[in-house]
Symmetry: C2
Subunit: 198 residues, 2 copies
């Protein structure tokens, strides 16, 4: 007896299974949910996704997602244009903005150097970063504390330092609210090295 | 400083967050992925979901999802029309068909009795089940082994038995490949009660 799944269920499940981190079981659950929703709501759902994709552009300055030529942050007159925080992805910009406290600008690389995956400097928005460094005093390398994040920070740091611009890196340390006993060794050693006077 | 998320990212994330079991973090991850995909692929993805929803109908016999008037299983001449396996949802039909070995027909209830959630017999496809019982010899109640599944099986069983039709229930027992020590008490007691001669 062959595997039987009704055509609409299979078609919808197939779509969801294309998304990252969505396995076949979850895809079927989502498909089942969608097929049970009112038709106009499903249409709205799908059309909004198309709309989001169609309207998305990269800010010609910071390369973040935006629907304008220059994004909201880059065109905000009140922000400090002498500091640029370099991040891997638009999600990271959201994270910093949610946390608050940072008044400078951003630059989104759209990836990290990863020779194993064939991602080289040309695949990242590094040229775009270098071309906007006039009048910039500090570049904060805010890539993830992973091997790729470190390598990318080092690589870009070496390009920028000779231009006489201060390059800094996010601090390593214990995450707020965590327990010392669960911290990994690298984090603990870094937290100790970077200890501050009380 | 207010939370900043670019409009397209927020719009796409909002759509994904509507899906069951998709939290805001996952929704953002999916939105980010979608915005990075080629526009025609995203369009295809969204249009296929609309297409699946538009083409879905309920089989006028078994109530399973189909794009035809009578589904593939109900119109299969080789299947045993004297046995009906009653399940909660179309996913369960897929599960049985995947497992193989069942040659009868199905009936999809599209839910389980749940007075707490206001789901009564009228909300399920019970009328449709009762109206197709001519020439049926056995009805297998294959709802989940949960409180709602049991209650629904009992309720429907009581409606059908007086019609002189055999009503059976899926066996409780140890799942294949599991370890005895991890089985819950109810399962263990049932497995013992329903023991078979070797």
């Amino acid at each position: 007896m062959s595997e039987f799944v009704s055509f609409p269920l299979a078609l919808a499940a197939e779509q969801f299974a294309k998304l990252p981190g969505i396995g076949i079981k979850t895809a079927q659950r989502l498909a089942y949910y969608v097929l049970n929703q009112p038709e106009n709501e499903v249409r709205q759902f799908a059309e909004n996704i198309i709309k989001a994709r169609e309207s998305v552009k990269l800010c010609s300055c910071c390369q973040n997602f935006t629907e304008r030529e220059i994004c909201e942050i880059c065109s905000d007159e009140e922000r400090d244009k002498s500091i640029i925080c370099v991040v891997e992805s638009p999600k990271d910009v959201s994270a910093f903005e949610r946390a608050g406290g940072y008044e400078g600008l951003y630059h989104v690389l759209h990836g990290l150097l990863s020779p194993m995956d064939g991602i080289t400097a040309e695949d990242l928005k590094i040229k775009e970063l270098l071309s906007r460094l006039t009048d910039v005093k500090e570049v904060i390398m805010a890539t993830n504390p992973t091997v790729e994040g470190e390598a990318t920070a080092m690589y870009i740091g070496r390009l920028i330092k000779p231009m006489g611009i201060k390059v800094t890196r996010l601090a390593y340390g214990l995450p707020a609210g965590s327990a010392l006993e669960f911290a990994d060794d690298v984090t603990l050693v870094k937290a100790l090295e970077n200890r501050n006077e009380l």
